[in-house]
């Protein structure tokens, strides 16, 4: 456990050692702002909630989260530091979780820095802060799932661009599984229960539930399973291929 924290500390310090972290945070805030106000019509809706803010998160994270996760293991491979890390008396699981938690924490910091919009909506009206808190929680959970997928894919290649593209694609499949377009396509070929199953694999459906303020165990289990499952797969693939 303490070794996980050792890796975590090194990683999180690494984010802020270069301007990349600050660039990322600025881009993150810029895009959440644009989607909320311009596309989501925050003011025009005239409602004291953050639906227009959270609505776009599953899509925004498609390219923002892989931008964090792409370097997790690819960079270790391409620079050769994976040999340094993996010959320290740290287990692969500790290294995987330490790196993941640092990335998640960093994503959490970026998300937390959107707090002015929460203040704004409280100044303008009287929103249900419970729903907003649940939505932030759901958004963080979803970011964690995307990161776990990205971390797994990053461990399979030494090329960060490939890691980015494949991670974005992987997450996109999970989001799109809940879209009407995909579901109608499935319905046209398969019976209804297949479509329902496909929809239940979608990040969108589970995230939508949470943003309504309903924290259902099923949604938590969904994200938790996705997250932990990917990280365990990550540790297994790394153990098998760390020197390749």
């Amino acid at each position: 456990m303490s070794k996980t924290f050792t890796v975590f500390k090194r990683e999180i310090a690494g984010y802020f050692a270069t301007p990349v972290a600050y660039v990322f945070i600025v881009v993150f805030l810029l895009f959440t702002g644009i989607t909320t106000f311009n596309i989501g019509s925050f003011y025009e809706r005239g409602q004291a909630d953050l639906m227009s803010f959270f609505f776009f998160h599953p899509w925004l994270y498609l390219f923002l989260i892989p931008a964090i996760s792409m370097r997790l293991w690819s960079e270790e491979r391409s620079s050769g530091t994976i040999e340094l890390l993996m010959t320290l008396p740290i287990s692969t699981t500790q290294a995987v979780f330490g790196k993941f938690l640092a990335a998640w924490c960093f994503a959490g910091i970026a998300l937390a820095l959107t707090f002015p919009i929460w203040i704004t909506v409280n100044v303008l009206g009287d929103p249900d802060n419970g729903v907003i808190l649940a939505s932030y929680f759901g958004s963080l959970l979803m970011a964690g799932s995307y990161l776990a997928i990205g971390s797994l894919i990053s461990s399979l290649t030494r090329n960060q661009v490939i890691a980015f593209v494949l991670s974005a694609l992987g997450c996109a499949v999970l989001v799109a599984a809940g879209s009407d377009w995909v579901l109608n396509l499935v319905r046209s070929v398969f019976p209804e229960w297949v479509a329902e199953n496909v929809a239940s694999f979608s990040v969108q459906a589970h995230f939508d539930q949470i943003t309504k303020g309903i924290i259902d165990l099923r949604d938590i289990v969904y994200f938790g399973t996705l997250l932990v499952g990917c990280l365990i797969a990550n540790a297994i693939t790394l153990n098998a291929s760390k020197a390749d």
Binding site: T6, K9, L84, T87, I90
Partner: protein, 312 residues
């Protein structure tokens, strides 16, 4: 301390390390020699737990590296080939990280770091980004991280590769200094390095163990070991007379500068021929310009040993 038994690593059809066995004990400095791609790095990666062997075992201080990697890795300090380091960190940050990961208690960490920093002389770059450091400094930071926990077993993959002669000298001095209470295994393809720092040499080629002995034994394998090179003033035809000295196997005439003659005299199995030679020179009234005894050319031996086909 290091016990390697029938260690084998295959990558698809390629056998990188082929049934290698040897032991190394405390106080030994083992030079690991071989041409590029011979399997040196692969062997070291298996000993440090980075690569799993296809078959065979590697044990470090009694711990099987495959079964109990963490226990083995705790005993090891390792400098991977090319000394990969986190470029966005400072040497100080990196050493703190490694010291913590190595389990040095917080109260003793700075003391341990101070000790290695002064040992490898990186005081002046301690707070600069590793990316911006010269190759020599990077290598020294790599060495520092390998010895920060004062390991019982030190494994260095080409520790002096790419360093200038002064830096090489410093690194060798450091290795000698640490050798008395540790097991040190270093790989190199620089032969003088083996004679300079190692108490034992192992040559592998095509993944197989070809030689295991002291550097002196290695030199003795050269045909020219113990041969005498003699340069005489004036043009002489001394070949006939020289070959009649007791204990001489054969005489070879070498090229010589104008007005000189030069011969190399090969003795039979470590026979002493210098006495007979000087008597002969005295009798004939030769003016001896230069005389030297060959200690054996490591590169010759290296070529012979590594070029030989598989021993089978």
């Amino acid at each position: 301390m290091i016990e390697i038994q029938n260690l084998t690593k295959r990558f698809g059809a390629l056998t990188a390390v082929d049934d290698v066995s040897f032991n190394v004990g405390r106080g030994e400095v083992l030079g690991f020699l071989g041409p590029n791609g011979a399997g040196k790095s692969t062997t070291m990666k298996m000993v440090t737990g980075f690569l799993d062997p296809t078959s065979g075992t590697a044990r470090v201080c009694g711990h099987d590296v495959t079964e109990n990697p963490i226990a083995a890795q705790t005993k090891i300090g390792y400098l991977p080939e090319g000394a990969p380091l986190y470029g966005d960190m400072t040497p100080l940050g990196l050493l703190k990280f490694v010291a913590e990961a190595r389990g040095i208690p917080a109260s003793k960490r700075m003391e341990a770091i101070d000790r290695v920093v002064s040992r490898v002389h990186i005081e002046e770059v301690l707070r600069r980004r590793i990316d911006t450091l010269s190759k020599g400094f990077k290598r020294r930071v790599g060495l520092a991280q390998a010895i920060v926990h004062d390991p019982e077993v030190l494994i260095l993959d080409e520790p002096t590769d790419g360093l200038d002669p002064n830096q090489k000298h410093d690194v060798r001095a450091l290795i000698r200094e640490m050798s008395h209470d540790k097991v040190i295994v270093l790989s190199t393809h620089i032969l003088e390095e083996v004679a300079a720092v190692c108490s034992r040499a192992i040559i592998i080629a095509q993944g197989q163990l070809r030689f295991d002995g002291t550097p002196l034994e290695l030199q003795a394998m050269d045909e020219a070991h113990g041969a005498v090179t003699l340069t005489l003033d004036g043009l002489q035809s001394a070949e006939e007379a020289l070959s009649k000295i007791a204990g001489v196997a054969r005489v070879e005439a070498l090229e010589a500068p104008d007005g000189h003659s030069r011969y190399r005299i090969y003795p039979l199995e470590s026979a002493a021929i210098l006495g007979g030679l000087s008597t002969l020179a005295h009798e004939r009234g030769w003016e001896v310009d230069h005389l030297s005894v060959e200690s054996g050319r490591l590169d010759e031996v290296f070529r012979t040993v590594t070029a030989a086909g598989s021993r089978s």
